[in-house]
Symmetry: C5
Subunit: 366 residues, 5 copies
């Protein structure tokens, strides 16, 4: 179940007692694969990088270089990258410890940004992406290969959109825009799941509704907690006077921030709907139970006195011994009298129930 | 059902992976129909526009021009309009992607405003309206033909109110005022629906109350989410020192903002009422069930021992075989004894129930 | 019912589609009756006004004039008053549309204030009062005759308190103080109603408790929504550097604001109490039901097996046909055996219930 | 009950319609008893005061004078004190109207502070204390004799702590510190009451749990509402640059504020616990009811068909008339057949219940 | 139980009525054991201190000295330490009164910080740690021996991390980082407990679920209340321009603050999950009860009329006396007629239940 997995991930925190800045690697993390794309408005080169130190030379030749690292399983390689780009060791620690909140830190040489991305559309599994945005480069770290940034790469390669003519700040925008856009299909699956559940609630046809709503609420809560600081990061990029972000790019970050706010509002709306569904379900269950109880009550209450009368005349008192012993049994119309008595009792009870509004209009009464 | 439709609409977001600023058109959107009204205090002209480029000339001749576009089904036309008015491509994207939050963006040349309007009074279906307010023009984009702005047009044509003598900022005010006023009849229908439901809850006469309250709450939540950012936009128009809004018009925007706040407060009040109704309904159901249970308990509990006694003397032990076998059956007053025994048991139980306060004053006890 | 009426009032909003500033009169509103009181420290005159234009001359002769208008049923008269005092047409619209939130608007010539007053002590019906406070006058508009300001008039007439020696700002304070003070008796009736309900809940003696709590909560919510913006208006009068309010009068407005905050806090406290009462009532109902169920269970569960045994020996299998057919019926101690079997079963069940803690200490167990 | 009393007190507000600043005395309030303590680092005098005017002379002779007034039953005396110390008539009104929120007002000549104190430790009854803190005096008004300030007086008399060497601001601190410290024993009684209730909830041994939790919540709500503005007053004393409060004393006020925050947090924690207990209790009740129901269901459901079979063979159809009439009664193994049929039905039902998980492991299933 | 203990601890507050600044010692507190570590980049000395006055000399010789005090059981010793380091007596009072909120106070000579630490990983018991951070020393007070700072000591001794080359501000950071990191294992145990409970809720296998969730919620609430002010302290260290904290160390404090925020968010998430579990459990219980009731209803409702019929023909009316008395008993097909009547009634009821959706698809219906 998605929920369980996502909560498990949260737990892989640094063991306490280690010196701060100690780089700890998740042993299941794959080894880093480094890939660089360097471009200007006219040309673009792509290459696999094995020696991080060669990047320095590349970056001097091109106006914008995007270095992407897939996999965090090699501390030494991450440290070498850190040295090449002058990354603070707290930033390196955050890159490796993939349970950080989204944040933006201003370091000498650039901005260090942590965000979370949905790895595959329509799937809740999320992954931490760390960006280090400098004057002429964007360095991204991802946990594993496979991401939502292939569209960005395509646009760079085929010079679609205006990304090729812009700077590193615009590339950071394009990456974060892509990350944000990928939340929407996932948020929409919740709308669909809630629609299905809503139907199920009001027809009361399923048994595990509470379990499923609980799961949805936990997942939405997880998503919201992830997106909220991300929105704050984007707000800082859009509003704060960060030196490396050009004023015209700020407008674009504001647009991404708007989308994040929209995603958060959708999530909040889904959460409210989910809460409403729990209430609706509980009241459905309680009304159904009431219906069941009413039928039991009516049938039981009518027949219990009748059965008593039948039982009464089933007693074996010896009518021969004494005229006091059940003389009714010897009456000519004893049986009709007994049946009549029963009918009167039943009619009286039905009248009582009707007056109370429990039968006769049973369909309409809650 | 309105709710379902409105939630569906929310989902038509841009597919992820497209370059930012890519204009995507909802294939069901009708082709744009452009209509221009240009006026000064004395004269007014109206015309259908097919070539957006002709607007430039029109706008130089008249102090205020209102260009309205119904339908967003033609990207090329929207882009041509964008070029004529110098609209930023992010604004164009927002115009076409009709699930935006209300917002105000300041661009060179004017303010870009997104708001939502109720398409028809007494109906929840809402529609995005995008305004681009410049020094001497207001450009509005609507999803479909048919809107709540006919009153504005009438006033322009017949020079009612003082709109004809004012500038483009006042025209924007009049449009937004009209948009806001149309929320009130819709909000009022909720008051009526809640009144009906309240009656239904306390007479407990309907069966689908929870479903209907859930629907109302979802719709109110939707309306509130739509109006809240709209109120913020109006607040910016009323308070921020926006250059194109004259100080005397700011007062009017403040008035519209006041109305929006009032609508939001009414919505919040309705939501609280709806939540209260759910609680009231649940407690009604549970009290009714209690009533039902009490009747069952009293009748069952009284008759169960009586039936047992009757059953006892219905046993067929052979009284001839042994004086130990049911000698009561041969007593002279065996039957009266049995009846007396039953009466005593019943009286004892009734006394017990009375002491517990379950009967005798059954009408008044909860 | 008060609640219904108050909600109905909320609905009399301006029909959408009218030009802003259009003055619309509620057809049920009585025609305006204008009454003026002018005074200085030594003298006071009162007069009925039919021609608003005569007020100008009056106001030049006296340091402070209070013009009160009862009834809003004549647009022309209101407009004439507007012209005399230079009222903005948005203010005129607010005066006539009596469902405004409390607010303070600064216009040239004075402050336009909307507040709500309780018409009669101990009664929830509220009425909008609009004040226009100028340098040397206070103009008040009320929906109908009869208000809580007779005390103010008495004090003016008999020169009680220091109001006669102060300016128009102090008169505005005295009026708003009177309006605020009248909320307290109403708020106190809620405390009494809640005390009564609390008693009813814990003795569970009434049937319509949920309905009554729901009504109280709706009314408190209505009061709170009315008082909250009023408190903001008073805060503006106490804190903002408004030119026409002298610093020494600000202290008095702060006092009224304090009282309003106190009233709001009492209301909030009553709302919390009401919510707590609903929970308490529901748990009372559910505990009572549990009690009822337990008695049913115990009696039913004990007698059901006994009745079965009685039924068993009531079967008519022919003991003559076969020694296998109910030989117990012919035993010498068959009947005592059956009675003993029943007693054992009953004792076993009672032991089981005791061990579960369901009987024997039934009074103390929840 | 404490709660009722405290709510009653809240109601003794000024009757509406009186001129502002009118001093109204609670007729039950005892007559004022004035007691003055004047001291410097070396000497201390205490005296009863009957003529307030004599205080002026006293205050000129000593660096710090503490004048305490117990009882508010004499308007004239309070007014005379007001004249001696130059108290604003709004302050006088607040002193007499003992239902004020805590507040700090800056008047010429000093700070007017309203706080609330617990009259006796371990008892909820609270009392308003008004302080007027001047350059060289502290004037305190209490509703009745008997307070939590005897410790302060002792320290002054025996020169304990450093209060004797400090100014009037420090005396005000010591008084407010004493007032705040007295809240803790009361707050702790709630912890004990909640512990007792928690035990009662989970053993479900008491009957009036909901009533008692409701009472605790109401009292905690009352305490919180009282302490919250008090904390704001202390924050003003600690942070605002009030001229008569020396910077070194500000540190002490900050300490009292910290304690008040701590008390508020404890109260909030107790409120959350109380709310949690209601939920826990309700679920306990509902689980217990479920248990009861299950036993009823199992026993009833097993015996109902058995009794039916017994009833069937208790019918009196005449087996002599027709071979179709109950031939089983004449079978050799009719009775064993009937018993076998019953045993099979019972076994089948028990199997069904086991498969549903309702019996066999009844202890462990919810 | 952890919860009870932690709440008990909260109560050991100073008895009211004592002069402020009075040092009160918890009689159970162990006597202080003072241990000093002094170091520079190259050397380190450790020593037990018995005479605090000797510390002055030590501190002049080394750039950084860490003095740790375990146990608060000796007022005189604490006061002597206070004199050596110039600690304000309010700080001394806070050190001894171990129920303080986390706080940071700026005194001459350094910053006084109160924080709380988890004493042992995986265990909720917390302990107050007070830090006094000066230019060249850190003075820490702990309630008892045994803490989470052994890692810090090890790093100092073996010169791991860069702590040895840094100042007292960095040492304070390392200590607070260690304190914060120790919260995570504890927070994670809650995730595990909630996972276990979630499983238990949806299989409904345990009986004390509500009790356990209540316990978890109380503990989480306690943790959150402890961490929240701690996060504010760290924010002050990271953001405020505190003179003794070098700008490069601020970055590290910000990192600890981030971790604290993360811990708080995890706690909030766990609290929401716990609340959700209560709701889920209650609805599980109510659904299960509904299931039980339905089976009872169906079986009872079907057999009650059948038993009545059987009882009817078990009556002993004398068929010889009158042809009206139970002629059915003498019919040739009387018994089959009775069985047929029963079968029809049963079939009718089953049909009714099916139509209502109560049987036939019993597995799937809620």
């Amino acid at each position: 179940m998605t929920k369980r997995r996502s909560r498990k991930r949260k737990r892989k925190t640094k063991p306490p007692g280690l010196p701060p800045g100690t780089l700890v690697v998740d042993p299941e993390s794959p080894p880093p694969v480094i890939h660089a794309i360097a471009y200007d408005a006219d040309n673009i080169v792509e290459m696999a990088i094995t020696e991080p130190e060669t990047l320095t030379e590349l970056m001097t030749r091109w106006p914008v270089t995007w270095i992407n690292v897939n996999g965090l399983g090699d501390v030494a390689m991450v440290e070498r990258l850190g040295q090449v780009f002058g990354l603070h060791r707290l930033a390196l620690e955050d890159i490796l410890n993939v349970t950080q909140r989204a944040k933006l830190e201003e370091y000498a040489g650039g901005y260090f940004i942590i965000a979370h991305m949905i790895r595959l559309p329509e799937h809740l599994a999320t992954e931490q992406i760390s960006l280090f945005v400098g004057r002429n480069f964007v360095l991204t770290f991802q946990e594993t290969a496979g991401d939502c940034l292939d569209g960005v790469r395509d646009r760079l390669r085929h010079a679609r959109g205006r990304v090729r003519g812009e700077g590193a700040d615009y590339l950071a925008y394009v990456i974060l825009d892509s990350v944000t856009d990928n939340y929407f299909p996932v948020v929409e699956t919740f709308a669909e799941r809630l629609d299905t559940l809503e139907e199920a609630v009001f027809t009361a046809r399923e048994n595990d509704i509470v379990e499923r709503i609980h799961e949805i609420k936990t997942e939405l809560q997880h998503l919201r907690r992830q997106l909220f600081p991300q929105q704050q990061v984007l707000s800082m990029l859009a509003k704060d006077e960060l030196q490396l972000i050009r004023p015209e790019t700020r407008l674009f970050f504001r647009d991404v921030q708007d989308h994040t706010v929209q995603a958060i509002e959708l999530i909040d709306s889904h959460r409210e709907t989910a809460t409403g569904l729990v209430d609706a379900y509980l009241s459905m269950v309680s009304r159904k139970m009431n219906d069941v109880m009413k039928v039991l009550t009516i049938i039981a209450t009518i027949f219990i006195p009748l059965s008593f009368i039948a039982g009464l005349y089933g007693m074996n008192f010896d009518t021969n011994r004494s005229p006091w012993n059940m003389p009714e049994l010897r009456w000519t119309f004893g049986y009709p009298f007994a049946l009549g008595l029963m009918a009167s009792v039943a009619a009286g009870l039905i009248f009582f129930f009707r007056r109370r509004g429990w039968i006769g209009n049973g369909r309409r009464n809650g």
